[in-house]
């Protein structure tokens, strides 16, 4: 559909042009003395115990997040760089992923540490009277922000960390405001499947208190999507989306859809949310919600469970939060396969110890048996995560 934008052969040239432009900007921006420099970040330590049929596995991951921003009246430079230090069984898992070998992690030296540096995002955003331009490695988002979003370009879900920050997409995007609450977004990216160019557009507005939007996106060869989404209030919070997938010949189509409700109780201390996900691609061998290299590279402690893959037709996501005050939160997240009724249940207790210092304890239990999707035999009996995080 959008192949006219750039032929496949020019992908490399497009990538080089974008990176060259970015490099020039990076050299130029520091001399802009009026721009405010802003440095922030976080240090996070995850200690993880995974209960398996054999010996329990232990991983420890230190993540250092560094955010550098320079803001001026007409532009913003933003970079998000992460440094990871892995210790324990995760080192073997990373090796397996990087080399593509089938070696078991236990065949490797588990005493070794593994260090990884990664740029999740680095971009420049210009604000002009004709709209905002973003160039670099950035997030290009369409649809409703949430667990199931058919329009999300990197649609992987990390069930152990739903707020997990994803890898950006090298792209040029353009945002045109069409009023206070309306706008148009267009992007083009040399990063796509099958050496193609990805490109898409979305338009959004607010109608009678509902955020509504339409999206058309070409993720790669024979991977096109078009659809609509909404979010608003009918006493309950309600949101939904419908996406139609089709190949370049406008054939071999299937649908994805979501419908979600949320409500809070007891003056907002309890929050209940639920979302049903329909995947019409069931049985075709693909995963509409698929892991990406980006996330596997940053591998968190839940290597075996990060990408549950929503490959069956119907799923239910449930979310219960009890937050009586800022210092404590209990959260229950559940993913249920509505065909084999297996589920993943994630419990979280989180404490704010002081300004910017957080501690959380999370345990995840698969409930399935046998060959069900969330089988304890496959995924392990339990996972326990102790996380300490300091924001700077």
């Amino acid at each position: 559909m959008l192949r006219w934008l750039l032929p496949a052969e020019t992908r490399l040239i497009a990538s080089l042009l974008i990176f060259a432009s970015l490099l020039i900007l990076l050299l130029w921006l520091p001399v802009m003395s009026q721009a405010k420099i802003d440095l922030s970040g976080a240090i996070r330590n995850d200690a993880v115990l995974i209960g398996t049929e054999g010996e329990p596995q232990f991983n420890n991951i230190v993540e250092n997040k560094l955010i550098l921003q320079r803001k001026a009246e007409d532009w913003k430079f933003y970079s998000d760089v992460r440094f990871y230090l892995y210790t324990g069984d995760a080192v073997g898992a990373i090796h397996t992923q990087k080399t593509g070998t089938s070696e078991s992690p236990t065949d490797l030296s588990l005493d070794a540490d593994y260090f990884l540096a990664k740029v999740l995002r680095v971009f420049v955003r210009w604000y002009t009277d004709s709209g905002d331009f973003t160039l670099g490695k950035t997030y290009v988002s369409f649809g409703n922000l949430g667990v199931f979003n058919p329009f999300e370009i990197d649609s992987s879900i990390n069930v152990s960390d739903l707020s997990y920050t994803k890898d950006g997409l090298v792209a040029l995007s353009y945002d045109l405001p069409l009023g206070d609450l309306s706008g148009l977004r267009v992007y083009v990216s040399p990063e796509a499947q099958d050496s193609e160019v990805s490109a898409g557009t979305g338009i959004f507005t607010n109608l009678s208190g509902f955020d509504v939007g339409m999206v058309a996106n070409r993720a790669g060869r024979d991977d096109n999507i078009a659809g609509v989404y909404f979010k608003g209030d009918l006493e309950l919070g309600v949101q939904g989306s419908y996406a139609y997938h089709f190949n370049d010949q406008a054939q071999d189509s299937y649908s994805e859809a979501t419908l979600g409700l949320d409500y809070s109780f007891f003056e907002g201390e309890w929050l209940l949310g639920t979302q049903v996900y329909y995947n019409g691609n069931e049985g075709r061998g693909d995963r509409p919600v698929a892991p990406t290299d980006a996330n596997t590279n940053t591998l968190n402690a839940f290597a075996q469970l990060d990408y549950a893959g929503f490959t069956d037709t119907y799923y239910l996501y449930g979310n219960l939060v009890h937050a009586p005050h800022e210092f404590f939160r209990f959260q229950l997240d559940a993913f249920v396969n509505l065909e084999d009724y297996s589920s993943l249940i994630v419990h979280t207790l989180a404490w704010v110890l002081s300004d910017g210092l957080n501690l959380s304890l999370q345990w995840m239990i698969p409930t399935g048996v046998g060959d069900t999707q969330y089988s304890r035999e496959v995924l392990g009996k339990y996972i326990v995560l102790l996380r300490a995080e300091a924001k700077l």
């Binding site: 604000y127 922000l145 009023g179 609450l181 003056e267 005050h325 300004d355």
Partner: protein, 247 residues
């Protein structure tokens, strides 16, 4: 002559008292509303949340515009750095810097404490006229510190307001509520607020410190201190747009 001087002195003494005595509940809240009227506002504030012996401090700045009841806020403390709010009438959107994306907040979630504080999103973003929302009844005067105050009971005109009943204690000279009690339907006391550190900003007397206690929570309170406030300053219209949240 002496008689005239005495009469004039008596008048000068009595006039303010007579003026105060003639205040009705409606005229008091009209003056309170008038005192709060602004075209635009710009502020910087600190919010200290206390639970028992533990405290958290959050910083934010923002803008407000009366027309269209628009507000914009951005948090600057490390924990919440870059989180932004946009309120348009009674709708609210939050920008998450980690996702570089915007989420519409469901209406029922506006009752939640903002950033876990004792003040809800509704409280923080409320800028409707009291007179438009409540019927007022004057109760017996009281003193707050050394300040003489009116006590006004407010009963909601419509069922869709946040608080069914309020009791506000209004300073007789400044026409600023120094104490506010907020009640739920059924008469349950939900929150107590006090406004202190009144400063003259432009033509207005403005309380720069607000203490909120959620009576359903034990040992909990939130103090918001405005370190800077300006009224009727020039605020670009683009501030109150979804596009501006991503800047």
């Amino acid at each position: 002559m002496l008689k005239h001087v005495i009469t004039l002195s008596l008048l000068l003494y009595l006039l303010p008292a007579m003026s105060q005595a003639s205040e009705t509940a409606k005229s008091i809240i009209e003056k309170v509303d008038k005192n709060q009227v602004f075209v635009t506002e710009k502020f910087t504030a600190t919010m200290v949340i206390t639970k028992g012996k533990r405290t958290l401090t959050k910083q934010f700045y923002g803008y407000g515009k009366k027309e269209g009841m628009k507000s914009f806020m951005e948090f600057t403390n490390p924990e919440d750095k870059g989180v932004k709010y946009l309120k348009m009438d009674d709708e609210l959107w939050i920008y998450f810097p980690d996702a570089d994306d915007i989420m519409k907040i469901s209406g029922h979630m506006l009752r939640q404490g903002m950033m876990g504080s004792d003040i809800s999103y509704e409280d923080m973003l409320e800028n409707d006229s009291i007179d438009e929302q409540y019927d007022a009844k004057l109760l017996e005067d009281k003193k707050v510190g050394d300040r003489d105050c009116y006590v006004v009971e407010l009963i909601a005109k419509k069922p869709d307001v946040t608080y069914e009943k309020q009791v506000i204690v209004v300073d007789k000279n400044w026409f600023i509520p120094l104490e506010i009690e907020l009640y739920a339907r059924g008469g349950r006391l939900l929150k107590k607020m006090s406004q202190t550190d009144v400063k003259k900003i432009g033509i207005r007397q403005v309380p720069t410190s607000i203490t909120i206690k959620d009576m359903r929570k034990k040992n909990s309170q939130t103090v918001i201190t405005f370190t800077e406030i300006e009224f009727d300053v020039k605020v670009p219209a683009k501030v109150f747009t979804k596009g501006y949240l991503r800047r």
